[in-house]
Symmetry: C2
Subunit: 186 residues, 2 copies
DNA sequence: ATTTGTCTATCTACTAAAAGGTAGGTATCT
DNA sequence: AGATACCTACCTTTTAGTAGATAGACAAAT
């Protein structure tokens, strides 16, 4: 039997990605789990508490992935990075950083703080991948590694959002273009 | 005296960009304008009606800009394009396409339809700028013009969101990197 | 010139539903 | 007996929206 607390976090995550932070309620979660609204509050007294937990869990999952692929070559690591977003795209979801960023002025400070930790670590990982790839002569770019990391992350983040509107195929187009430009240096 | 209808649209636009579609209410608007909630409904019977109007107005403004800079050289046009986002960044706002994309599953179909019209036209303009710049030998890229346009738009769109979280200065870093890579071909 | 009617933009005063949250009870397991 | 994981039954505030009144502007008819 799956742990209720974990299930709530999982559903909160899903709902934030699909409907936005202000687009879901505790009742949405309780209906799916077949329990009462108040039971959600037993685990997470406030929506802010749930928001924090969702971001933290995401951060833990990222750390796991980073650790597991730390010894892989840069191309494989980049691939692993892209896979995360590919999965989201297949489920019609967007990146949690992007979703919460658009609602940032309506979410509480503790959630923002966790979100910044997460965003900084995503950025750090990409920067590390890029630097190693450049050192090995696999990746080519002239701007700073941090700038290039920002470009790639913003590309893939917005690809999830934009492709929802323009054409689902645009996600792959953007994804493949990023990799191509990085490998050929233009 | 400013037209109330126009003021409502202006405020709706501002609130969507600052708080997200589900993060503002008609009361937020009525309070600022010093009129009653019901008076907003006089102009826009439903929130969906306001949403449509906001996106349409944004589209009209885009068309105006495109027309006004149609005869400028590609560098100037790119500059004009970037200026739109720079202004938003200075006001702490995000792109309307990005804001509505994260809430897409909670907004009504007519709004989505208008949003797609807008996104397609932004994409078309960027593609046109890029092709002209490439023809003149000013811009350099090897992928398709549509793909490059998608990359640039997703970059600048997410730059507004990401820089809210990581560091406001990251917006300029991304903006300048896009232009640099485009001009030097890497 | 004054009355009459209509239109516009606002108001007061509601309503129903949903959101976020609380207090306190109960069943079960250890 | 105490902790855990629920429950029922509330509450308050906000949200989106409606019905119907009113006050002023303006034009046409008397």
């Amino acid at each position: 039997m799956p742990d209720t607390r974990t299930e709530i976090i999982r559903l909160g995550d899903k709902l934030i990605r699909e409907q936005g932070y202000n687009g879901f309620s505790f009742t949405d979660i309780s209906k799916v789990l077949g329990i009462r609204n108040a039971s959600i509050h037993y685990y997470f007294p406030t929506k802010t508490d749930l928001g924090i937990a969702v971001v933290k869990r995401q951060h833990e999952e990222l750390n796991q992935i980073v650790r597991n692929s730390a010894k892989s070559d840069p191309v494989k690591q980049l691939s692993r990075f892209m896979d995360m977003y590919n999965t989201l795209h297949n489920d019609g979801q967007v990146c949690i950083v992007g979703s919460l960023a658009t609602d940032l002025n309506t979410i509480e400070k503790p959630v923002r703080k966790e979100l910044k930790f997460l965003a900084d670590d995503i950025l750090l990982w990409m920067k590390t991948i890029l630097e190693e790839g450049k050192k090995q002569g696999i990746f080519h770019y002239k701007i700073s590694s941090r700038a290039k990391a920002l470009l790639i992350i913003s590309n893939i983040m917005a690809a999830l959002q934009l492709s929802r509107i323009t054409d689902p195929g645009d996600f792959d187009l953007i994804r493949n273009s990023i990799i191509k430009e990085l490998k050929t240096g233009s």
